[in-house]
Symmetry: C2
């Protein structure tokens, strides 16, 4: 069923839809009075709703579907700004599908791209729209938030977390299992996790050192060299596997 995010409190039970959603639901999807739709309200809960009018479009909440598809951990990705326009778009779309809470692009030492100040808002708006579409399509309860930081230091300061890791090829195995597995198995549902990824060409050893001094843990993502847009997706899948599939379910 079609799902929409509506920034509206769970009460009142009947309300008018914002213009863009109304256009998609009525004009594109050809909904009629009586058509059913899922809406995620400001409380991040999924409700079944019925269309009550089409001009203007109004829906009435039928019931709380009590569905949750959010990762148990709140994951923020800090991604070194890639070279091309397509890669941030792909990272945002796929990371939203895979459950990221927030995606931050920062200018890393080896980033070739630079977002001029006057273009940042427009670029972010475009990426946020991709995130919002992916959140609907993947049936999330939350829309990933996309932001920009001028540099790594700002990105780290602006995004505190219970645990912080950096994807680092040269990360050695520490102890019996990998550093990533050790971090993930000690985290508990509701905790926040920041993960840092380099741009093409990777992070510099100074950047990694700076992070290690700040307590960010270097983690390997297996023995293959992953592209800058593939590493965050591997990471989110690993978080899902470890926290949603490999754990005991009550």
């Amino acid at each position: 069923m079609q799902r929409y995010f509506v920034d509206q409190p769970a009460s009142p039970k009947e309300f008018e839809l914002p213009k863009d959603i109304a256009h998609h639901l009525i004009t594109v999807m050809r909904a009629q009075p009586g058509s059913q739709v899922e809406v995620v309200l400001a409380d991040h809960r999924v409700y079944l709703a019925t269309v009550t009018a089409t001009a203007p479009a109004r829906v009435k909440i039928v019931k709380d579907l009590d569905r949750n598809s959010e990762l148990p951990l709140r994951v923020t990705l800090l991604c070194g700004l890639p070279k091309t326009k397509e890669k941030p778009e792909m990272i945002v779309q796929k990371a939203t599908e895979l459950g990221a809470d927030k995606i931050v692009f920062f200018e890393s030492a080896r980033s070739i791209s630079h977002w001029a100040k006057q273009k940042q808002a427009k670029k972010l708006a475009r990426l946020q729209k991709i995130a919002d579409g992916a959140a609907e399509q993947s049936h999330r309860n939350r829309q990933s938030q996309v932001t920009y930081s001028p540099d790594l230091t700002t990105a780290l300061v602006d995004n505190p977390a219970d645990q912080r890791v950096v994807a680092w090829e040269e990360s050695a195995k520490q102890g019996e299992t990998s550093a990533l597995h050790q971090v993930l198995t000690k985290m508990t549902p509701g905790q926040s996790l920041v993960a840092v990824f380099g741009p093409e060409g990777g992070l510099t050893s100074q950047e990694v050192e700076q992070m290690q001094k700040a307590g960010v843990i270097p983690v390997g993502l297996g023995p293959r060299i992953l592209r800058t847009e593939t590493a965050p997706l591997y990471f989110l899948a690993a978080v899902s596997y470890a926290s949603e599939l490999a754990v005991n379910h009550r």
Copy 2:
């Protein structure tokens, strides 16, 4: 260091490079006599080699680097043919990076695309080239093989494996942990694993039933709806996490 796959036995120790590799190494990368390069020979081992001549280009094996970046499990993906040309390309590139042994596109009940017989060889050659490039770039020891099957039955018959799973949204949790975790934890290094993925719109329940009768295990990939090109990448990352990062290392 630049890595090339050369279909050539490990002896003799000095040999002429194939034309396409010679062109890339000498013309694009501007290698000189004495330049070093990694070559993966027909034995799937990685060797350090030195350029001994440039016209024609020749290299001499220096030593076996004894590096292995292959997944412990040999994974074959059977992917329902997606609608657009871009999605198979993305699946092939990313799945190669993430360690797939073989990628098979098959015409699923809901596949909208169809590969006419006379176009199959050309389409496969293009995808194989993408796979070969991704194998070099991600420093694999093997190049993922890309093939085509006219239908699911053929794809399954042509690809036997120690374990077979199908990504199925409606797969229930079985027992304490997920079906995927149960499959992965009982597999041992060297075993083969086939995983089936639907096209846009998913597999039909008849297709899933047919597979279940043949012993293919339905597995869920978490609570979010993944696009047809995202599910295989999640799967490979989960296999890597379970078999390379979450296991005890000797």
